[in-house]
Amino acid sequence: MKSVSNRKNPLVMFIHKLGSPPWFYNFTGKFVPWLWAIFAALTVWGLYLGLFVAPTDYLQGESYRIMYIHVPAAWLSMMIYVLMAAMGFIALIWRIRTMEIMAMNSAPIGAAFTLIALATGSLWGRPTWGAYWVWDARLTSELVLLFLYLGVIGLYKAMDEPRKAARAASLLALVGLVNLPIIHFSVKWWNTLHQGSSISMTGSKIDVSMLWPLLIMAIAMKFYYAANLITRSRVTLLEQDLRKGWTRDVIGNDTREHKS
């Protein structure tokens, strides 16, 4: 009786359906253009407020405007890692292939955001600290995060069988989770050149006029991640299921959509 009621549970049914590649491909395909559109609109709005409306900082001058790309990228670099490890964990336990694919496709996006956080941080560091790079705990642990992402990507690409590769890389992602509290608390645990958190659960030290563009950009980047992840995962499904009938059907549909 219990198993029958579980099968009828809408959430269980939804998760069950997500495990089906054709259903996943068709269902997520409806959202992708909207996710990209919301990302683009929020980015334009956030950048306009951040670069042209927000006032100049009394201490850092104009260079603080790098914050509107640096901070969202740094947040995303950690958030994506947590999601990648969580999806990897689900894939390891329940062997859901779409979860494996989403976990593995999170890695290059996370690596891109980590690279942006490091590069923009470096460019912000020069006018603020007088150096592009210092072996500070926050910067070093963020660099380790980039290496972890590259490790996950490398391990996944190194093996011929994608499902085995995804499981091995998921395990590595789970081990690498230990780096996240180090990144987050590095500014508290060590005497770092990098400033402490300006935004916490209890409040913000940033003026509202400067805070809003930051929050808008942070939300925009989350939409970018969602759109990019779904786009990449759909492509991976096509690549892996090349010989399966459903791919021929969806290619036919895609072609008709392009023609209409």
Binding site: I109, I116, P127, V235
Partner: protein
């Protein structure tokens, strides 16, 4: 110190990386679609007794 090169440099790097990350899967999609079509055409030809 003029901060403009640092600010615009940051946004240029971010734009390049985000665009590359967004467009890379579209290139892969084209290749995947081409491979699926090639595979299905080969399959159809093998099925056709006149070929």
């Amino acid at each position: 110190m003029n901060h403009a090169p640092f600010i615009w440099g940051s946004y240029a790097i971010a734009t390049f990386v985000l665009l590359w990350s967004a467009f890379a899967p579209l290139i892969s999609k084209k290749t995947a679609i081409k491979n699926i079509r090639t595979f299905n055409q080969a399959k159809e030809q093998n099925r056709d007794p006149n070929s």
